[in-house]
């Protein structure tokens, strides 16, 4: 499902026009950007948490050339599904995609 299909689905479910849905979705994403940009964690109930995590700096060694590189620390966005969602997914078949 891509962005367009998502908007179409939302419009249908909420009885709103696609334009309205688009602006709402954009506002939501904006909110996400603001909060995550400040390093905050966003928790969506029964869905999961969006969390900014710090990956520490590390020393990597190129296996072929043995060149040692110091990889700087970085912040990554991590999503952790909620246990409710996990339970719901338990019975889903293996997805071959």
């Amino acid at each position: 499902m891509n962005h367009k299909e998502l908007i179409a689905g939302l419009a249908e479910k909420m009885g709103l026009s696609k334009l309205e849905v688009t602006s709402l979705l954009d506002a939501t994403i904006d909110t996400f950007y603001e909060e995550l940009g400040e390093g905050k964690t966003i928790g969506i109930q029964s869905f999961g948490n969006f969390e900014v995590r710090k990956k520490e700096e590390r020393l990597s060694v190129h296996p072929a050339t043995q060149v040692r590189t110091l990889v700087p620390p970085k912040l990554v966005l991590n999503f952790k599904q909620s246990s409710i969602l996990k339970d719901k997914l338990k019975d889903t078949p293996r997805n071959e995609k």
């Binding site: 499902m1 891509n2 962005h3 998502l6 939302l10 479910k13 909420m14 602006s23 709402l24 979705l25 506002a27 939501t28 994403i29 904006d30 909110t31 996400f32 950007y33 603001e34 909060e35 995550l36 940009g37 400040e38 390093g39 905050k40 964690t41 966003i42 928790g43 969506i44 109930q45 029964s46 869905f47 999961g48 948490n49 969006f50 900014v52 710090k54 020393l59 060149v67 040692r68 590189t69 110091l70 990889v71 700087p72 620390p73 970085k74 912040l75 990554v76 966005l77 999503f79 599904q81 969602l85 996990k86 719901k88 997914l89 338990k90 889903t92 078949p93 293996r94 997805n95 995609k97």
Partner: protein
Amino acid sequence: MKNSKISSHEIVDVLSAKASISKRAAEDFIKVLFTLIEDELLAGESVKIKNLGTFKLQWNEPRKSVNVQTGQEIILSGYNKVVFNPDEKLKELVNQPFAHLEAVVIGADPITPISTQDAIQEEDGEDEDATIFDPLKVFSEQATEIKDLLSEINSINNTVSDETDEIEVPIELPTQTVDEVEMVEVAIEVTSQMEPISDPVEEVVENLVEIVPEQEQQPEQEQQPAEQPEEIISDVVEQEVTQEQEPVKDDVPTKELEMVADPTDEVVQAPSMENVSPPPTATIVSPPVKRSKNKVLVLLAVLVGVVGLVAGLYFLVPPVKQLVDSKLHGDSEKVAEAVVPVKPQVEPVEVVADSSEADSSEVENEATVDSLQLLFDSERTYDTFIATERMKPGTRLAKIALHYYGCRDFWVYIYEANKLKFPNPDEIPVGAIVKVPKVDARLIDASNPRCMKKARELHDLYKKKR
């Protein structure tokens, strides 16, 4: 980092304010949005939201595990898991505080001066890598040729040594030949190490030849105080050293090792003797040269050996290097003079003259480099400032350095100027004002590896101090 958690209620609040809709509508929207995503995921589809990222299912294979209490093996069945792959934009936004950091290669620092042995080994490796270069190929081929020649000479040397002893008795050389035979053995090792020094680039080859005059000076300096008679030999040695090295250089482009080497040997020998050594010594040394070809070979080998030893000494013992360098400037002219008379007869001699010129330029180079070293060692004072910066969240000294000096590594100088105010470079409070000092342009030359090295040294120093 503020790690407060925002619940969906707060998201709803913000959203309702942003889109100017009621909270109820906003709550509905969020709910519907995520249930829709959930439904799609449960149906096994992935969901892609523009600018946010992709939600999809990831299958985790069943795996064996052990019940910690009973020790029984159990099998955890495979399951699906929702993974979220954030959009590139979002990733960058999240990582912004650390965005200015770059991966740093450690260990393979080409700037650090290492002992010659190491350097040679490194260059060896480069040689192998760079065999694509035609001139290098030619040169390495010739290097092996020369090596073979030397080992041949060495073997001949051993067999002939008896004979040469007899010949040289009147010339008071017996003890020296024995010594020199030993030297040759050592020297051949040294030269075999030296040869790879010649790098893919021809410049380096030229450098090698530039070294030659320096080496010529050295035997004199070393042996003069020790033994007078040897000086005669060393003089001859010097002359032949030039002969030896010239062909090596000329070969690179022309491939005429033997053709060039032979004439130079014979032609240069006589006149050079007259030029450098007093008449009696000329008579002493020249007979053996004419008497047997082997003798010439022996001498040749000895000379190569001496060159090798001296070069090794030159590189390995810094004081010697300095001594030679200091004397070199004056002496190199002498060498040029001594060789010039031979010019009409032998072409390669020009090389020596050239190289001595190049050599003096090298000396000048070193002079500037040394002034740089002085600059490094001297206490830096910061009186004038080119700018002031207010620290914002995410601002780093490295960033400021990148802006004003063109390279993030020079942040150390900003830190030095602000050291009294902020002793810890990593904990400069937000809102604090940092002065950006005016630093000598030679210190912050990003294209000069020595500046970079100095900056890194300071970096290590300040980071370690914490």
